[in-house]
């Protein structure tokens, strides 16, 4: 029997497999395909203080082994979430974490305060890295001082697990990770999407209404792996790795690079059962390779 449990700085996960925010709805959309209680955790949609309509159509473009999205944090706001969605999902037998976004520090604080009161939400993922809205927090995530200011402010009011999600659109991700750790993050997740763009050569127009959007999928995996590895050298808090994970092998690569847990995003669109398969695949890998605990894989790359 392999021990799949992961201790994420006090937050205990059944296993390292989580779903990435904005790619798994509130989990409900996937219940027809498999029982999501097999997962280590679910990051629900990016949630803001107020209702947001998001960006105009078109919001997505396919790219080589990846996709661009420009959803722009469409959501009904944290109060609606607390009243209408939370009651539906609060009894799922897995950690439901809320991905919190904002335009101002005030927004972040108020949203976190609301989520702090929801008993069955054991943590938030602070999204300081959304590239798809002018005030989507990406600016916060691209410099140390601003990242520190928002994390410190939320740390004041948020008492449970505080995961902070970093933007890959930076010169030095390790520096920002260390700053965020210093500001009180319990764990660090990365990467959010890379800022990209696509043009239709026939119409000579951009393929997204917002011109630029966020790149995800296997195309970004090498960059994501590198960043996870760099951050792993720079911080002590656990890391949650993501970016292009499509299967068990990819998940293992992130753990070897230093991630204690992983999130699967875009792959959910292509195979809605992929996360369940990865949970089973991790167990099989451990058995084949003689690991008693999946946590032994974390940072186990030999250099």
């Amino acid at each position: 029997m392999v021990d799949l449990k992961i201790d994420l700085n006090g937050l205990e996960l059944k296993n390292p497999v989580m779903t990435a925010s904005g790619t798994f709805g509130y989990g409900e959309e996937f219940m027809d395909f498999f029982d999501i209680s097999c997962l280590g955790g679910v990051l629900v949609k990016g949630t803001t203080l107020e209702h947001r309509e998001g960006n105009a159509y078109p919001r997505m473009a396919e790219t080589p082994q990846g996709m661009l999205n420009a959803v722009g944090l469409q959501n009904k706001g944290v109060h609606y979430f607390a009243e209408h969605i939370y009651p539906r999902i609060k009894d799922y037998d897995t950690h439901m974490l809320v991905n919190v976004s904002g335009s101002t520090i005030e927004d972040y604080i108020k949203t976190a305060e609301v989520v702090n009161e929801l008993d069955n939400i054991p943590g938030i993922e602070l999204n300081i890295s959304c590239p798809n809205v002018k005030e989507g927090g990406m600016a916060f995530g691209t410099s140390c001082p601003s990242a520190v200011s928002v994390v410190e402010a939320v740390r004041q009011v948020y008492k449970k697990h505080l995961m902070v999600k970093l933007s890959p659109n930076v010169t030095n991700i390790a520096e920002i990770a260390a700053a965020v750790e210093g500001a009180g993050a319990d764990s660090i997740s990365l990467i959010n999407t890379l800022l990209g763009m696509a043009i239709d050569a026939k119409t000579r127009r951009p393929l997204l209404s917002t011109i630029t959007g966020g790149l995800s999928g296997p195309a970004v995996k090498p960059v994501a792996l590198r960043m996870v590895w760099q951050v792993a050298q720079a911080v002590k808090v656990p890391i949650v790795g993501m970016g292009g994970i499509m299967n068990t092998t990819d998940a293992i690569e992130f753990m070897l690079a230093g991630a204690s847990a992983i999130q699967v995003g875009t792959a959910n669109f292509i195979d809605p059962c992929v996360t369940e398969k990865i949970v089973k695949g991790l167990e099989a890998y451990c058995i084949e390779n003689g690991f008693d605990k999946v946590s032994d894989l974390v940072g186990a790359m030999e250099v």
Binding site: P58, M60, E62, T63, G66, Q74, P272
Partner: protein, 256 residues
């Protein structure tokens, strides 16, 4: 309606012309219920440029045989690869997705299609006929080549056609066909699917003539089942997902 993910087997690939094929797919066991207007998400993973699944309407269903048909127009790499599927190949589907056309309240029904947008209208026609309606079809295309699968439609009701070059049927767009007359229109309900420009004209006609009109949108999709929020349509209630709140919308609900 519960969604599934299954490997279907291609049992026929009927090539209609350079651009269109009809695939017949067999379910491994007993196929679940599917409604007209719903679609499937097809996995096409053997090309470097076909990363996401491709949404394709359910063209027809044979409950007895546990098969469904897809009408595919080859416009890019994904649909071209679908067009190359051979008998015996596996085709992985997430299905059935989206909402469906409602049954009409009044008897005189017109189904208006263009391009690959005619795909869901065949299954809807069959459904209408089974429910005692006498559907009429109005199918438009650029020229004769684009008018496909007419015989299948004729089995279900009267078929009107238009072509832009006049090579067959009425010359012009669907809106120019006499069945779309504005004085005392002879129809109570329209279902339409095809190029957006066509649907907009049809919806406007319907509105002006107080005809109920359901349109089926073909927005770009990443997932097809409500997880990504990429496929939104602008409605009276704000952004709605075409893949879960649609693809079928009452035309007056859309901000067109």
């Amino acid at each position: 309606m519960k969604k599934y993910i299954d490997d279907f087997k291609v049992i026929q690939n009927e090539r209609l012309n350079d651009e269109y094929v009809i695939l017949t797919l067999k379910h491994p066991g007993k196929m679940p219920e599917m409604m007209p207007g719903q679609f499937v998400e097809v996995r096409v993973d053997n090309g470097p440029n076909t990363f996401l699944r491709r949404p394709i309407s359910i063209h027809d269903v044979d409950v007895e045989a546990n098969t469904m048909k897809l009408l595919v127009q080859e416009i890019g790499e994904g649909t071209r690869l679908m067009g190359k599927l051979n008998e015996g190949d596996i085709c992985n589907l997430v299905y059935p997705l989206g909402n469906w056309f409602s049954l009409p309240e009044k008897p005189r029904v017109l189904l208006v299609g263009g391009g690959c947008g005619i795909a869901p209208l065949l299954y809807m026609g069959r459904h209408l006929k089974a429910n005692g309606f006498k559907p009429q079809f109005l199918l438009g295309a650029r020229s004769e080549d684009g008018l496909i699968a007419l015989d299948a439609f004729r089995e279900l009701g009267e078929v009107h056609t238009t072509t832009e070059d006049g090579s067959v049927g009425t010359k012009g767009y669907v809106i120019h066909h006499p069945v779309m007359r504005t004085q005392t229109p002879e129809i109570d309900q329209i279902y339409t699917c095809g190029p957006e420009a066509m649907m907009k004209v049809v919806a406007k006609y319907a509105k002006n003539n107080n005809i109920k009109c359901e349109v089926s949108l073909e927005n770009h999709m990443a997932c097809g089942f409500g997880a990504c929020l990429c496929c939104i349509a602008d409605t009276l209630d704000g952004h709605k997902c075409t893949c879960t709140d649609g693809p079928v919308f009452d035309s007056t609900y859309l901000k067109w």
